[in-house]
């Protein structure tokens, strides 16, 4: 089982829900794997305080040109759609940071003058947090291939166990990479005009991916009723609501788990999981 916790708008409680859901399940005997796919700004470790036992460099393939063998024909530059390799006056120039690692230049070079070397884009760390598997990706400063790093983090998924994926905010390529294999997507939002606008975008995304999904409303008593109205009109299940509570905000600010600061929430997260598992089961049938 793979549950992805996503949101159009940032700061709507994705990490709070993902980490507390993971811990609640783990404390109740489930085999849980928490995978933080928000590789640009990962925060799960702040709350789960994992013991990291493994750190790996994550690399992507980029071209390396043997200038001696190069005939300066320019076919590599003609093919490259990203401006990462170009041929000027018979000399090949590389802009590695723009490369998408498609392998086209190497395949098309008639002289076989382009080899592939590895360029580091970030680090993937994994370990344990109170008996639960933990992993996250850390994108290097200035690197742009977030999806490649997320792909690496997702290798930590074990199908027979409960995998909770913490997804980056938004609806573009890193988000798609993080949610595309999930069995269920939980969309976190807040009941404000910004929250609603970004929820509509996120719903469009999960519908295009044909995913089973539901909504969690954080700080459900601030703002207005428009998110609830939208969900009702669109026949979307609101599975979880968290009221605006200064105690939650303060615990969050110190990096404390919500289920520790307010233990009554553990049961609520277990109920949330039951609802999700039922929805996935119904969808499969």
């Amino acid at each position: 089982m793979k549950i992805a916790v996503a949101s159009g708008k940032g700061g709507t409680g994705k990490t709070t829900i993902a980490t507390n859901l993971a811990v609640s399940l783990s404390r109740n005997g489930r085999n849980v794997r928490y995978l933080d796919c928000d590789a640009e700004e990962p925060n799960g470790h702040i709350f789960l305080k994992p013991e990291i036992t493994k750190a790996e460099d994550v690399t992507v393939g980029v071209p390396e040109v043997d200038q001696e063998a190069c005939s300066g024909c320019g076919r590599c530059g003609d093919l490259c759609q990203y401006g990462a390799i170009t041929c000027v006056k018979g000399k090949v120039l590389l802009f590695e940071q723009l490369c998408h690692s498609c392998g086209g230049c190497m395949a098309i070079c008639p002289e076989g003058a382009i080899a592939e070397k590895q360029r580091k884009i970030g680090t993937a760390e994994s370990g344990h947090s109170n008996g639960m598997f933990f992993s996250h990706g850390l994108l290097d400063t200035g690197a742009i291939q977030t999806p490649a790093l997320i792909k690496h983090v997702k290798k930590g998924i074990v199908e027979d166990e409960m995998n909770i994926l913490d997804v980056p905010p938004g609806t573009s390529c890193p988000v798609i990479e993080a949610v595309k294999d999930a069995d269920f997507v939980l969309l976190a939002t807040e009941p404000t005009p910004f929250g609603l606008n970004d929820l509509v975008l996120a719903v469009g995304m999960v519908r295009r991916l044909d995913k089973s999904f539901g909504v969690a409303i954080n700080r459900c008593d601030i703002g207005d009723q428009e998110v609830l109205r939208y969900c009702r009109e669109e026949d979307i299940e609101v599975l979880f609501q968290i009221p605006n509570d200064r105690k939650i905000a303060e615990a969050y600010s110190r990096g404390e788990m919500m289920v520790d600061a307010l233990p009554e929430y553990e049961k609520k997260f277990l109920q949330l999981n039951d609802k999700i598992e039922n929805m996935v089961k119904t969808d499969e049938e």
Partner: protein, 296 residues
């Protein structure tokens, strides 16, 4: 003309509400919404669209079923696992290959190497961009299609158009609302800007994300200032953030208290400074004066 970009690292820190407040405080500015992935600024500024154009960030491969011989070369060469043998039958084969547009990165490798010349490569429309009028001046903004790529390219386009507009209309400031994170769209929104304001919050997550995004601005040699929003949630953390910032040569130009006005103003489609003349409004004005001073 100077360019100020408001970014946040961590999402939900109040970046867009603060950018909107600046729009109402600035005189002679062009406004650009560079948070194309989850654009919200238009909800408060209510732009009246004057021009609308399609945005194409690249091309997209599509297999023509009638021509596909199911040789499998495309799927073998695609590094993005975007091609599968799930297409319809034709006269020659029972199943053809098909490209999943969500996984396709438009690299053209399959098009180039298909022996049957069966793959088309047409420009993809990834979204729309607009030039509009708002009650605070002209605004350039966009709507990226759902689950579309190339947000970095769209950000670059928006900034370029906004800059051209500012020059044409003799404006002194380009005010950009950036995106959260540290990746491609953020880099596209800050490269070459005169000043970046990072809006954070006094939480461990806010502090951690600030550290990462400040490394990014330093990496690109861009001057950055910090605003701590919801400051009273954890005053101790504010002090830690401020002292760490100082060690890195970064200045905290404002501490804004947690204020329900952030939500209420949104609902009223008003900027914070239009909505409240209370303490928050005063603090925002003082911060704005300091930013203008730092912009030079």
């Amino acid at each position: 003309m100077k360019e100020l970009v408001v970014i946040s690292g961590k999402g939900g820190t109040g970046k867009t509400s603060i950018a909107a407040a600046f729009a109402s405080l600035a005189s002679k500015a062009v406004i650009a919404d560079c948070d194309v992935d989850a654009a919200d600024l238009h909800l408060v500024l209510e732009p009246a669209i004057k021009e609308e154009s399609d945005f194409s960030g690249g091309r997209e491969a599509a297999i023509i079923p009638d021509r596909c011989t199911a040789c499998g070369k495309c799927a073998e060469m695609c590094r993005f696992d975007a091609i599968t043998l799930d297409g319809p039958a034709n006269e020659g084969v029972g199943k053809t290959y098909v490209v999943d547009p969500l996984s396709c990165e438009g690299c053209k490798v399959c098009v180039e190497f298909c022996p049957a010349d069966a793959i088309s490569f047409e420009p993809a429309v990834n979204g729309k961009w607009f030039v509009s009028d708002t009650r605070f001046g002209p605004m350039v903004h966009a709507k990226l299609g759902i689950a579309e790529e190339n947000s970095g390219k769209l950000v670059t386009l928006i900034r370029k158009k906004a800059k051209e507009l500012a020059e044409q209309e003799n404006k002194e400031l380009l005010l950009c609302d950036g995106s959260p994170g540290t990746g491609c769209p953020v880099i596209a929104s800050i490269v070459g800007a005169d000043l970046v304001l990072i809006v954070t919050e006094p939480t461990l997550s806010g502090r951690h994300d600030l550290e990462r995004v400040a490394r990014l601005t330093a990496n690109f040699g861009i001057k950055a200032l910090i605003c701590i929003n919801k400051a009273d949630i954890n005053p101790e953390m504010c002090d830690i953030i401020e002292s760490e910032a100082r060690q890195n040569g970064l200045k905290v130009v404002g501490r804004i208290p947690y204020d329900e006005a952030f939500t209420k103003a949104q609902i009223m489609k008003a900027t914070l400074t239009e909505y409240t003349s209370g303490a928050t409004g005063g603090k925002l004005k003082a911060m704005w004066r300091e930013i203008i001073y730092e912009l030079g």
